[in-house]
Amino acid sequence: MNTRITTAVTMGLREFRRTPALIGLLIALPLYFIGGFMYIVPEATLTIPISGESVTVTLSEFVAALVTPVTAGLLSGIVGLFLMQSSKAADDRLRLAGYRSRDLVVSRVSLLAAGGLIVSAVSLAIVLVGFSPVSIPAFVAATVLTALIYGVLGVIIGVSLSRLAGVYVMLFFPYVDMLLFQNPMATDSTAWTKALPGYFTTKATMDAAFTQGLDLWNFIGAVGYFTVVLIVGVVVFHRVTAIE
C-alpha cells in the first residue's frame, strides 16, 4: 500500500476517533437493538426449516441470530451512505492535489471495511453474551459479509439518491430484506427474493447458528454478491471522484 493510501486511511480513522458520539452510538445502538429484541420476545419455541432440516429453537435464540446481521447491515449501510456524502469535498481536493482515483477508491474501501468490521464486532460481542451459535467462526463470517455488502450498497445509494431518500431506503431496505423476506419462517417466498442482498448471508447466518453442517455455497454466493456490488460501487465512486 503506498503512502498516499495509508495517509488517507489514517486520517479517516483519526476523524472517526475524534467523534466520541459516533463511537458511543455504534456501541449503544446494537446493544439496544439486539439486546432489546432478545429481552422483549416471549418465551416460546418454534420449529423452523433451515437447510432442509426442521430445527426447534427458542424465539429468543432465533431473534438473536436473525437481528445480528440486520443490525450490522443497517449500521454499516448508514455509515457507507454518509462516508460517500461527507468525503466528497475532501476527495475532490485530494484529486486536485495529485491523488489518483485508484488511491481514493482503495482508501475509501479500506475505511468502509473498517466501519463494517467495527459494527460487526460490536453486534457480535453483544449477541454472543446471550447466545451461542453452533459455529461461531461461520456466524462471524456471515455477519461481516452482511455488513460489507450493505456498506457498499450504502455508498451506491448515497451517490444515487438524495440524503432524505438515502436514509429512508437504508432504514427500510435491510429491515424488510433480512427480517421479513429472508426470514426462515417465510416459507412462501417468491423466487425474486433470492436476488436480494440478504439472501445468501441470512441463510449462512441461520446455518451457522443452528445446524452442524455448513453449506459453503451460501458463503460463496455471499462473497460473489459482495464482489458484484463492490465492482458497481467502485465504478460509481470512480465516476463521482473523476475530475472533469
Binding site: 437504508m170 427500510f172 427480517l179 417465510a186
Partner: protein, 252 residues
C-alpha cells in the same frame, strides 16, 4: 405585519423550501406507497404461526404496519434534517433579532403540514391496496397523522441531541425499526414494553379505524400525551439550539 401574517410567511417560506424540490414531492408519494406494498408482499410469505395473535388478517396487519412505518420514518427523517439544516440559519436569524417563537412556529407547523401530506398519501394507498374495505378512512388519516407528528418531534429531538447527519440518522434508523416491530403486534410482547413504543397507540388507532371504523379513544389519549411530551421536549431542544447565548450583554 401582524403576528398571524408573520407566522404564515414563515410557514410558507419553510414549506416552499421543501416542496419546491420535485424529488421531495416524488418521494412523498412513492415511498409510502412502495413501503405499504412491500410490507404486504413480505408478510404474505408467512404462514399463520401459533404465536401470532393478531386482531386483523395478516395482510391488513402488514399494510397497516407499512403505513405507520412509512409515515413515521419519513416524518422522522424530515424532522431530523429540518433541524440539522435549519440549525445555523435559524440561530443567525435569531441573533439578527428574528423572534425565536416565529422561527419555532414556522419549523413545527411545516413539519405538521408535511406529516399531514404523508398521512394523506399513506391513507389513500392503504385504502387502495387493502383487500378488505377500510371502515373509516378519516380516522385512519387521523391515526397516521398522529404517528407522523410523533416521529417529526422525535426527529427534532434526535437532531438536537445528535446534530450531525450520520449520528442522527443512525439513532433514528434503529429507533424506528425497533419501534415498528414492537408496534406491529407481530410478537406478543409484554404490555409494559409496548407502552414504551412511541407509535404503538397510533398503530392501534389506525388498526381500529381500518377494522371497526371506530375512533379508539382509549388509545387516542395516550397517543396525544406522547405528542404533547415529545412536542414539549422538541420545543425545548429547538429553543436551546437556535436562541443566541447572551453572556454579559454580549451576544455570542
Amino acid at each position: 405585519m401582524s403576528l398571524l401574517s408573520r407566522y404564515a410567511a414563515g410557514i410558507r417560506a419553510s414549506a416552499l423550501s421543501f416542496f419546491r424540490e420535485p424529488l421531495n414531492l416524488v418521494l412523498l408519494v412513492v415511498l409510502p406507497a412502495a413501503s405499504i406494498q412491500i410490507f404486504g408482499v413480505a408478510y404474505g410469505q408467512f404462514p399463520e404461526f401459533g404465536f401470532l395473535n393478531l386482531p386483523a388478517s395478516l395482510d391488513a396487519t402488514a399494510r397497516i404496519t407499512g403505513a405507520t412505518f412509512a409515515t413515521g420514518a419519513l416524518a422522522g427523517v424530515l424532522g431530523l434534517f429540518q433541524l440539522i439544516s435549519a440549525r445555523d440559519a435559524d440561530h443567525r436569524l435569531s441573533i439578527c433579532g428574528f423572534p425565536a417563537l416565529d422561527l419555532l412556529v414556522a419549523r413545527f407547523a411545516t413539519l405538521v403540514v408535511i406529516s399531514l401530506v404523508i398521512a394523506g398519501v399513506s391513507t389513500l394507498t392503504l385504502v387502495g391496496l387493502l383487500s378488505e374495505p377500510v371502515a373509516s378512512p378519516l380516522f385512519v388519516f387521523m391515526g397516521l397523522t398522529l404517528v407522523g407528528v410523533i416521529y417529526a418531534m422525535l426527529g427534532i429531538l434526535v437532531g438536537a441531541v445528535l446534530p450531525r447527519a450520520l449520528e442522527g440518522s443512525l439513532a433514528l434508523v434503529i429507533l424506528a425499526d425497533m419501534d415498528n416491530v414492537i408496534a406491529s403486534g407481530i410478537f406478543p410482547i409484554q404490555d409494559r414494553i409496548t407502552q414504551l413504543s412511541p407509535t404503538s397507540y397510533g398503530h392501534e388507532v389506525v388498526t381500529r379505524a381500518v377494522l371497526d371504523g371506530e375512533l379508539a379513544t382509549g388509545e387516542l389519549l395516550p397517543a396525544l400525551t406522547i405528542v404533547a411530551v415529545l412536542g414539549g421536549l422538541a420545543i425545548l431542544a429547538y429553543t436551546h439550539t437556535v436562541e443566541p447565548i447572551v453572556s454579559g450583554g454580549v451576544v455570542q
